[in-house]
Point group: C2
Chain length 228, copies 2
């Protein structure tokens, strides 16, 4: 009758049913950092047998949440799309307690800096994004967030080479610990990749947490990015 716009009840329910199973959510959360993992590893992470995992992965694939990359006899699965990662973040946000609970000690690293899909999130991600905006280096254009030429120059001068990056567009992405925006989209991914390459950031093995190097921390400071 009146709900022909956007997502109807059946599409939303289909999406929900994909998320309705702990085994599948475990896989999705394991892939939330943008990595690609073989089916066997995902089965082990989810604590289920290979046959069951295969069925779950097939459903997620058919549902458009995962993408598949075949390499030899290994089959690597990853999130289909950055929007899927953004959706996972937003679902997290929907359940977070409103009076922002202080993170537990074990989560402190995760709250400070982590990767959301493949771009920088957490306190550092939010601070970096707002610093870019305050300097006037980042602007919301018609096709998304846009890094202006003098912004790219300034970043390059700080030791972040950005070949071809200014042509990319970014997207605002809501952060679940900060409840503020940070920079995602192709632009956000490219900038984060550059930070890895320049040694500003390192991955902390077990999860999605990141740690800025001493040098990176200094350079972030020079850009006006403060971690209070």
């Amino acid at each position: 009758m009146n709900d022909d716009a956007a997502l109807n009840r059946y599409q939303l329910a289909e999406l929900g049913s994909l998320l309705a199973e702990p085994a599948r959510t475990a896989m999705l959360l394991a892939l939330a950092d943008g990595t690609a993992r073989p089916a066997g590893e995902l089965a082990q992470l989810a604590g289920i047998g290979a046959a069951t995992a295969s069925a779950h992965l097939r459903r997620l694939l058919d549902g458009g949440l995962l993408a598949l990359h075949v390499q030899g006899r290994h089959r690597y699965y990853r999130l289909a799309d950055e929007r899927v990662a953004a959706m996972l973040e937003s679902l997290t946000l929907a359940r977070a307690p409103l009076p922002c609970a202080l993170p537990k000690k074990g989560d402190a690293q995760l709250q400070r800096a982590r990767c959301c899909y493949r771009h920088l999130a957490g306190t550092l991600g939010v601070a970096f994004c707002s610093a870019l905006l305050q300097h006037g280096w980042l602007r919301t254009g018609s096709r998304g967030l846009q890094l202006l030429p003098h912004g790219a120059d300034a970043l390059a001068a700080s030791g972040l080479p950005l070949a071809g990056v200014p042509a990319l567009y970014g997207r605002s992405c809501l952060d679940w610990t900060e409840r503020r925006m940070h920079l995602g989209g192709p632009l956000g991914v490219a900038l984060t990749t550059a930070m890895f390459d320049a040694g500003w950031l390192r991955r902390l093995p077990p999860g999605r947490a990141l740690r800025p190097s001493a040098d990176g921390l200094r350079r972030f400071g020079l850009l006006g990015v403060r971690l209070d």
Copy 2:
């Protein structure tokens, strides 16, 4: 082991299972505009019997997605929280085709201006939010988006009385047609309510679509809000 942060697999799956049933998604979508509806009406909208609807509503209530208001022998259900509405919007966004499809004719009104929970969304909502930011009337403070005193003065001068509103905080909310941010949170709701009261906006009966009045359109224009 390593996923004790934020939402774990079980909590996410629980949330997903609440969305996994068309009858429940129909109810949630019907409540997405922030209205409260009695159980019987929701049952009819979902196309199920009263007994079944009651069970679904109970699950949504226990799951924290709905809130209940008892009035006489009627029991009114509404979305528990603005975050639930934001979650529904973001799920919609996750499924929207990336090459932004032009809206069908029937959706044009909906894309132009609609209510997301209880605040203004659509092209008009996005334009209004960015106009506030460009004028420097709105700022991202530590506790959320903040309407600055001279911004409140300017809006009042344009015919939007805002008693007590500047004390409220807003929240960025992603729009699924525009893929850009608009103003939500208590501040967004208060501003939208003021627009209704001042006659700038009218509801279009069948759904969530809104229409600015001729006077409202003029006043939006004076504020620098363009509907291109």
